[in-house]
Every structure is written in structure tokens, then in C-alpha cells.
């Protein structure tokens, strides 16, 4: 996937669907969706989190595929609801995959996540 991963992550964190859409490759597909449909899906998810009162999404590491793969997913900063998108990156921080992996589990966080 030819997307600058840092921009992709940080526009999700900032819940900025417009900028997120701008860095997608229009000829590529994401989660088997065209760039336009994927952008619409991301917008829908971001709007949902805004409606829950979230002002930012926390990007946190975890595992999926029966804990065999490491990846990142997102959580609303106020609602603590999962964003439902899982992103795999390689050692060079390049995007490998984007999915809705249902069995993603966040790593244990060293601080009490409910206290902030």
C-alpha cells in the first residue's frame, strides 16, 4: 500500500476524514473497497465517535488473528469504544494491511486507562 503511514495514522487519531481521504491512492482498494468508498466508511466511523463525545482516537498496539499478529487499533479518548479498524505495519513502518479484524485485543496498558 503506497500510503504514508504516519500521515494515515495521525489523521485517524485527529479524526480528520478529509485529510485522511486526501492521502489515499485513488486507484487502489482498501479492505476490498474503492478509495472513495473506504473514505466514506472512515468518515462514518469518525462521525460515530464524534457523536460519542470523542475528541481524538488513541492509537494503541495489540494482537489479532488468534494473537499471532501484532498490529495497531484505535479507541475513543472519552468513550473508550473501539474504532474497529486494525492496521498492520512492518519494521520500516510501512502499511501492510487494513482490516476489521474482529479478534483484535489491545495490549495490556501500563496505566489505568479509565483514570484519564
Amino acid at each position: 500500500m503506497d500510503i504514508p503511514s504516519d500521515l494515515f495514522f495521525l489523521f485517524i487519531i485527529r479524526m480528520d476524514d478529509q485529510m485522511l481521504s486526501s492521502v489515499l491512492d485513488e486507484e487502489d482498494t482498501y479492505m476490498d473497497l474503492s478509495a472513495a468508498d473506504f473514505a466514506a466508511l472512515m468518515k462514518q466511523k469518525i462521525e460515530f465517535h464524534k457523536s460519542l463525545g470523542d475528541t481524538t482516537l488513541l492509537a494503541l498496539p495489540g494482537t489479532f488473528d488468534r494473537a499471532t499478529k501484532s498490529a495497531y487499533s484505535f479507541m475513543g479518548n472519552k468513550s473508550k469504544e473501539s474504532f474497529g479498524i486494525v492496521i498492520e505495519v512492518n519494521d520500516k513502518k510501512e502499511l501492510l494491511s487494513i482490516s476489521e479484524a474482529k479478534d483484535f485485543v489491545f495490549d495490556e496498558f501500563p496505566f489505568n486507562i479509565d483514570s484519564f
Partner: protein, 359 residues
Amino acid sequence: MECFPRILTPENKILMLKSIVIEREVLPFSHKPHDHCESGAVSNLFNFYGLQLSEPMVFGLGAGLYFAHISFIKVMDAPIVSYRYLPGSVFKHAAKTLGIEIGMESFRSKAKAQAVLDEKIKENIPVGLLTDMYYLEYMPEMFRFHFNAHNLVVYGKKSEKYYISDSILEMPVMLNEEQLMKARFSKGVFSPKGKIYWINKIPENLNLKIAIKNSIHTVCKRMSGQRFPWAGYKGMQNLAKNIAGYPIKYKEEKANALLLNIVRMQEIVGTGGSGFRTIYANFLKESAGILNSKELEVFAKRMFVISDEWRNFALLAAKSAKKKTISKEESFKNVSDALYAIADQERIFFIELNNLELN
């Protein structure tokens, strides 16, 4: 700091805090997340002493807004594009213009750097540190890259671990001595050299109105001045000229990467969006209220418009870098034209703002 509604000198506050510290083991430092690490760290430090200043107010008083494009200095293989003034300048300028006495030290010796940090913590003085983000192990791996000007506040220590308020995070974190030392003594451009800063004394009667006027004047001079061809509106024009030439000078992949790097610097690197223009517009808006100036309120609105223009520029730049359907020369020329237009807007804006009589 609701317990301490008035501004306190550090000495007085330390006395008041002593019993609390014994109970809690660390200072009751109020961590608040912010968009930009330095103005966020400084805002949290000021707030600790009862000086409640928002992040935009600290950024504005620190005369943080700027633009520089230095094509002959490269960071991560791309020429420098900066939307703010030098690292550390927000703290220094805000403190100076408010009459706050501060301390600041850099080191050659790691042992000395740690000794001074530990001493300050022992004296119950929270301190700001300059660090390289790459070594901050509390950051998820994905977000760790070499950036030597990341500010954070250390406000306690327990079992060789430091309590850290990193204002770009939602919550305070901890880091051990070795990790923090690596982050304080990284190499490269703007190497932090263990830099540490703190507040010595806050005057009881500080004059916020004068400080606001001074800071606005400083930014106006820097942005509309003629001194350096890489700075202010001239720097923008210079970058606009270069952008138009990227598809001719470089292969497509490199030209796209350079354009995306501009977006990265503008929208991502702690700017709060639109290259700090949104934060600055909020500073002007807050200042208009404090100075009771309708004219300044109009300037705040104009800065919000300029901020939107910068955002549109970032959108256009990102799309141009990704788009394959139209010629690169044409799309980069459009991006260049958009930047020339913003440069002109900012030139007029800062000249007119500088001429505004603020009472």
C-alpha cells in the same frame, strides 16, 4: 490547580506542598493534553504555579508563529519547512514578556544532567526537558522517530523512574533513568544536550495586556520583515517557487515525497492544524477579549480564514502528490499558486496587524 487559586512563587508553593508531597510521594501536577508539545508543556508548568494560561495564549505570548523554508538544510532528506519559531523560544519569550524568572541549563556531562534533574525534583520543582521522541519508550513504536525538540515535563521520581507529563498524550506516563538519559542526549540536528528548564519566580502583578501587545509585535516583525529570504512571507514565496520546480528537478517519487513532507510538517508535527495558524487565531481571539478590542477580534477572524486557506493548501498538496490522472507539472503549479496566494494574505495581514493601535 483549584487548591491554589492565586499565583504563588515557587518558594511559597513548595512550603504549601510539602505535606501533600509526603502523602502522595509526587507533586500534584495537573497533566492536560495539548496539541503542541512546547506550548503544552509550558502551559502545564505555568498552571502548576497557579498561572492559568491556555495553550493558544502561551503559544501567542511565546511569539511562536513563524514560517521558514531553508532549502539548504535538510532533515530526513527534505529541506526544512517550519511553521513555528525555534525550539525553546516559546518558553523563553513567554516568560520574558511576562516578567517571569526562569532557569535553563544544557550539559556536556550526562551525570551532571541527571544530578541537576534529580535535585530539582527533590526540591519539588517540576522541570521541562528537551528530548528525542525516538527514545521515549512509552510511545508506541509506530510513533517513535528522531525528533530532537520534543518537550515534556518531569514532576516526580520513584524507584528510579520519572513521572512524566507529555502534553501530546492523554495521561501522565513513567520512564526509567536510562531511557530518559538516551532521549536527553541524542545526536543530530538540534541535539538537546540534556537541556532542562524551570520557573524560579512568577511576579505577583504580571501585566498580561502588555505581554500580549509585545508578543504580537514580535510576530508581526518576523513575519512581514525583509531581513531573511527564507523567513516569513518571503520564505513562503520561496517554497512556492520551489514546489513548481519539483516535477522538473526531481523524479516523480521524490517530488511527491517532498510535497507530502510539507503536509506532514504543516498538519502533523504538533501544529494543531494549518501550521499553527489555528492556535494563533485562537490566541488573537482570546487576546481580543482581554484587551477588549473589536479590531483585534476582526484580525482573529481573518487569521481563522487564513488557517482554512492553509488547510486547503494541505489538501491540495496531498491530493497532488497522490493523483496520477493529471500532469505533475500542472498539479504542482496549482499547489504553488495556492501558496503564493497565502503568502500575499499573510504579508498584508501582519503589516496591518502591526499597525493596529492596541490599548
